[in-house]
Symmetry: D2
Subunit: 308 residues, 4 copies
Amino acid sequence: MSIENLSRCSVDALDKILGVPFPVLDDGFIRVIDYMGSDASIVQAARVSYGQGTKKINEDRGLIRYLMRHHHTTPFEMCEIKLHIRVPMDCWRQWIRHRTASVNEYSTRYSIAIDAAQKTDPVDWRKQAAGNRQGSEEAVDCEVGLELTRQESDFQSRSRELYDGRLAAGVAREQARKDLPLSTYTEAYWKINLHNLLHFLALRMEAHAQFEIRSYANIIGNEIVRLWCPLTWEGFLEYRLNAMTFSSTESNIIAMIAGGRIDEARKLAIASGLLSEENPQKKNRERDELNEKILRLNLPPLSADPQS
Amino acid sequence: MSIENLSRCSVDALDKILGVPFPVLDDGFIRVIDYMGSDASIVQAARVSYGQGTKKINEDRGLIRYLMRHHHTTPFEMCEIKLHIRVPMDCWRQWIRHRTASVNEYSTRYSIAIDAAQKTDPVDWRKQAAGNRQGSEEAVDCEVGLELTRQESDFQSRSRELYDGRLAAGVAREQARKDLPLSTYTEAYWKINLHNLLHFLALRMEAHAQFEIRSYANIIGNEIVRLWCPLTWEGFLEYRLNAMTFSSTESNIIAMIAGGRIDEARKLAIASGLLSEENPQKKNRERDELNEKILRLNLPPLSADPQS
Amino acid sequence: MSIENLSRCSVDALDKILGVPFPVLDDGFIRVIDYMGSDASIVQAARVSYGQGTKKINEDRGLIRYLMRHHHTTPFEMCEIKLHIRVPMDCWRQWIRHRTASVNEYSTRYSIAIDAAQKTDPVDWRKQAAGNRQGSEEAVDCEVGLELTRQESDFQSRSRELYDGRLAAGVAREQARKDLPLSTYTEAYWKINLHNLLHFLALRMEAHAQFEIRSYANIIGNEIVRLWCPLTWEGFLEYRLNAMTFSSTESNIIAMIAGGRIDEARKLAIASGLLSEENPQKKNRERDELNEKILRLNLPPLSADPQS
Amino acid sequence: MSIENLSRCSVDALDKILGVPFPVLDDGFIRVIDYMGSDASIVQAARVSYGQGTKKINEDRGLIRYLMRHHHTTPFEMCEIKLHIRVPMDCWRQWIRHRTASVNEYSTRYSIAIDAAQKTDPVDWRKQAAGNRQGSEEAVDCEVGLELTRQESDFQSRSRELYDGRLAAGVAREQARKDLPLSTYTEAYWKINLHNLLHFLALRMEAHAQFEIRSYANIIGNEIVRLWCPLTWEGFLEYRLNAMTFSSTESNIIAMIAGGRIDEARKLAIASGLLSEENPQKKNRERDELNEKILRLNLPPLSADPQS
């Protein structure tokens, strides 16, 4: 046991951006306020677990990748970050569902609500996705977009008048706020450990996450975590964000296809409900997902047509 | 070790109200959907801890009160309840900050938003509290209330038109919802263990909690937990909700007052910043709180005037 | 909103084994004491999220598999189970690291320690694994095993004498216990929701988990969860326990191999550190894991020899 | 929004002891490895909640005490500390039950167990408490203590021989450890936020906590948190550790006593089960606790004898 005084672990690249806001959406931002730990802290924590045995694992990068690959998640909890964010309440409703963070949000009970609501450019109105009940796709027509933006602007002005009018009439802030639109900006300090943050990013950087929260998640991942813990970030991209998973049945089907047993693969797909024998054209979302993955592996996808 | 088959623990009084909605606010409700455990489960869990040693503690009520009094909280985690609630999003924003519950909320990304917003009766508009930045007090004037309610109604209609118009224009639900007012109702399944629920109730049944969430909390406490775990509820009222706490300094001041050493009590209050020697009339919120408690104990409060 | 009274959700197959101990190790057990929810509760919770939109997703099995596949984990939190377990303290030290459960453990501070320690049969002493610093493999020689078991038995008797002697000398239970061996049995009520339980099972049913805790996990999974939530269990086996994951680089290497670009695959493996150009025989654990997966897919593994 | 670069918040007094071990028990220690935040971070977080409204609350000490007094706990979560501790496994079993920390413990599966067990001096053997089933009191006789220490020493040597013998026989570390005594030292990194740490300290600095864990808690509180967040520490002592709480009934009894209505107080005590009318000498632990508090307030306690 050394009795020497330690210095706190710090990360120069992150220190350089401390406090500097990254703009998000029309009026939001993310700023790093404080942090604790680095890639080195993860390694240090893993090594207390491994004790004397770690002499052989002497390469930090390899150890971090090993931890990531084998879901040894506790060392990643040793890093902590605190962000100051400005975000529309609608987006915040999704964000706050991640229960493992510490939060202090601007109180519209205590103070007058922030006088800003998220505005949508005419070209940014997105159509309901055809194939995904909870998604969106390309923009609506330009003219429609112009009209929607005009209406939005009128409505947001009207909503603020209503709010200000209530305050002027002496109504308590806690009640006056009740009809503020979800587009109203709020601010918060949000503090979370790296393990939980990576879980947040895995879900919110994903292609199906809503555009708004994805915009925040991309900044946090690509602009902040990448600087803070570069080895962890690299491992996260490799073993999580860009990894592929095959279910037990999918693994078996792919093994059959790779082994040239196409017919057997079709039979398993039919038995598993991925393919309909009577109506091979029948859509099946899980089969579509599987075929995308099969194609990515340069193998022939399950086709509706047994001859192909 | 008995190998006999057990039956599940159940509570008749709660079974009788399972699924039945308790109305809250103008269009909200709370329903119990399922539960696990009872007062008996708390006792059972406490006794595994106490092992053979529990022969003497053979009275359930006494044991539950002992656990409550001494903050032995883990046995209360053995009970779990699942509620179905309908609540304005504004109130839900406070509710969801309790991170220890499991939640499934109605998705306005997946489905069209519930077509209901919380409406305020003309007599229910509350004034900003004078003495408390985050509270409200009596109603605004009746005429003002009428006008506020009329404006609210117009605004809520307008907001729904805007939302419906966006959907009609093909905008994705996830984006169309962005300007819904916070008064829009949402629904959720909310599942929580009894320990965490009591913590929620201690904070949200408290007099300073906002009226809306207090209305929900009162139903949960007085109409649901009281039936479900009556001994625990009684202990909670006794040792938590209606208990008094004195800080270290407050305890010393009260001891001095009770011992007739009024002057000494004043000196300690001055030294502790509760009382200003130069300006004894100077308001001090902590002293006001202390004096309320002293009066409740039938002792003479700290007065501004040393002679009194 | 129906105002009809509901009945609690129950599962006949689980009710039949309620309270009945499943033996584990030489003197341990697991009993189900209570539970809440079922596959139907998961579906119900998912559907509140999906609201009106769920008319099309009308098949429970498909919905549960969809949730499992897409990591929509919150509906699985709606189910809760409470187990009574008897387990050696050494195994319990691993178990208790899962922080998301509620626990009441037998108190050796309050009561005399359980008079039972885990015994090892002569054939059950396992050798240190050669290739894995934290694993074990086949049994030690029979004669050695006999001697180890004899020593164990003597030692455990001696440890109990020491403990009893301290108690007889009037030493406090909280101190007398300090030298009890880790093999001493303890008991606990352990309550956890299904989502967190599946996470526990994914880690502890895994081949690298220690034999002792794996024995408990296998009972919980195969004998309890399988009866309780059969659709969820099937989905868990399909999409978690028996699924395969490929990192980003692994996916690319496999695509190259499946596309016949073996040389390119080798180059990528070298660039990624999976293969050493200078010393292709050099062991690399990640490459070994990859090759196992490639073989499972009926594709040719990365070999040390470029010609093969 | 300022775009200036921030510096990380640091605390000189804590920086000076970073890494330096505080000895605990015969061979344990606590070292601070890293931390995040300070009293200033708590104030900053509280002020984002209060927004513009905080101009008046411009004194940090007052604000922190206000937060502590009113159980506004989230700002205290903004501070985080990481300790390196060395502790007997018996004590660690209590410690780890605090589920809100992040932990990496020395692995005796991966590495050979630490060759140190907690030893007890002849004068440190404590008797079982007479009045409290889970406590201890004064030391056993000196001669008995000498004998107990001698036995302990023999036993610990024997246990290490057994362990070393198993390793020498090739037994896997994960199995060889099964009979290590609970007194064996382990090490861990333990990271926790200040709110949860204060909760830990409130329970473990308390007089009824076991001596061993109390020794660690006292160091953490008095030597570490006091330096790290001095205003919070002061508030914690004032409003938590040294505060007094009266139940609803206790408050009423004290009010009656202070108002001179002794007889009424006795009647309420009888009605509440604190006092037995038939047998006023009958022991009642809750009454004893109440009387201690009443005496601390310089009021006459509830006596068994109505005349007194």
